[in-house]
């Protein structure tokens, strides 16, 4: 039985009159990759913002490993093991790739406020950074300044930074967007690997990829969940096909 890591119960978020997320519940278990798919503007990114604490909830409750974290601020949630990536890059463009990861790792380790010891001598964050770089396949460009990477490489870095913080729960917002075929393969392999000891929420529009790795899929349309089930059931779900998948993802169209 996999452990329940993150649980969102009936969370909602309104922007003025717009109900971006309405009464959505999701459970994230370790060793389970939970994909959230849905139309553009369905509220997937907003959901991630709510879970990660970037936006306050309008209603509902979020708990992490049984603890109620609804009123925790984002940094505290992050330190407790909630890592996220962004749909739009949020890398530190002036720093090197390695420094990007090192900094992401730093907050989690003790004495983050230390002001006299050189940061470069913080062994813990150095190893964490190195590992994240290797996993994301950025070993070759570790010394490049992040701002000079190509779009796809920046996307990889975005993931690497998320990993560097050694999170227990990963909230990934379209990690495959902008990646080439080769990198997509690598990322899927990585996800499969990470799944074993992480709870992962994956927001993604690449259906081939989603159906390959997801254990469970939740479908959102206009802020609401219209279906949440195993991949095969979702693939056949008439409402989902009508609202989101269309005919493009034929049943069983794999690779």
């Amino acid at each position: 039985m996999s452990t329940l890591m993150l649980q969102a119960q009936s969370v909602s978020r309104f922007f003025g009159g717009l109900k971006a997320v309405e009464d959505v519940s999701v459970d994230l278990h370790r060793d389970e990759l939970h994909a959230v798919i849905g139309t553009n503007g369905a509220g997937k990114s907003t959901l991630i913002n709510l879970l990660s604490g970037e936006l306050p909830l309008s209603a509902g409750r979020v708990s992490l490993m049984g603890e109620d974290i609804t009123h925790w601020r984002q940094p505290k949630r992050a330190r407790a093991g909630l890592g996220r990536s962004y749909q739009r890059n949020t890398i530190f463009t002036p720093f090197t790739v390695r420094e990007n990861c090192r900094l992401s790792a730093q907050a989690r380790w003790p004495r983050a406020w230390n002001w006299w010891q050189p940061a470069s001598r913080c062994a813990l964050s150095n190893t964490a950074a190195e590992e994240a770089l290797q996993r994301a396949g950025l070993g070759d460009v570790a010394e490049r300044v992040a701002g000079t990477l190509s779009h796809g490489q920046k996307r990889q870095l975005e993931i690497a930074m998320c990993l560097a913080g050694a999170p227990k729960v990963l909230l990934l917002d379209e990690p495959l967007a902008g990646m080439g075929a080769e990198e997509t393969e690598r990322m899927l392999a990585l996800l499969g690997e990470l799944k074993r000891d992480h709870a992962i929420l994956l927001v993604e529009h690449d259906m081939d990829a989603v159906f390959r790795v997801a254990d469970r899929i939740t479908v959102m349309v206009n802020g609401r969940v219209i279906a949440s089930d195993a991949p095969e059931a979702i693939r056949q779900h008439p409402e989902v096909r009508a609202a989101y998948l269309g005919d493009s993802v034929g049943a069983g169209h794999g690779h």
Binding site: S150, G178, A181, H205, S248
Partner: protein, 240 residues
Amino acid sequence: MATEHTALLAAQDLHAHYGQSHILQGISFSLQPGVALGLLGRNGMGKTTLIRTLLAQVRASGGEVWVKGHKVTQERTEHIVRRGIGVVPEGRGVFPNLSVRENLQMAARPGTRGQVDWTFERVLQTFPRLGERLGNGGGQLSGGEQQMLAIGRALMTNPDLLILDEATEGLAPLVVAEIWRVIALIRASGMSTLVVDRNYQKVLAHTDRCLVLEKGRLVLEGASDDLADDEAALHRYLGV
């Protein structure tokens, strides 16, 4: 070269640098009117850079660019674009502080031949989702909505050539299908397109010819249909 005079867009031995790094290393190609051209390559091979150099957003460090028989190497972006090019850039470039309506209206312009095929209404017809959010700021749109807006905005300039750099990134499958449909439509209407997309199959299916970039060089050029069958080349250059 004769092609330069008849071509809609052509490059001659184009080079570009970012600081010390030599990104484009001598690229030559031409795009004839009515042709749909695909541009393929792994991440970081210089596709975006090539587009940006053609549009003078990156200064070419060597070589020439021609648009409709005019040498535009020394011209500024806005002048090149006004010769009939519409751009959907990587990262969308939606104006966050303008409403959806304004994003579209600010771009409106008749084409170089005076044609006004794409109007505000037609764009909304093509992307009904935008119609529902006309009053919203561009910055408040979801990623997919922004992508539609960027395409719609480029169409509002009634270009002869539409450049799409990763236009389907982050879009729902239905919308992606819709966009490929629109691209097909555009292609059918005789407008030229230059398409960059990570989904090489779609690119190959929706273009007449394709260029493959590797480390800033053109390594392959040919009819899309041929390339689609050339598994060895695809594996070699795209890793599939």
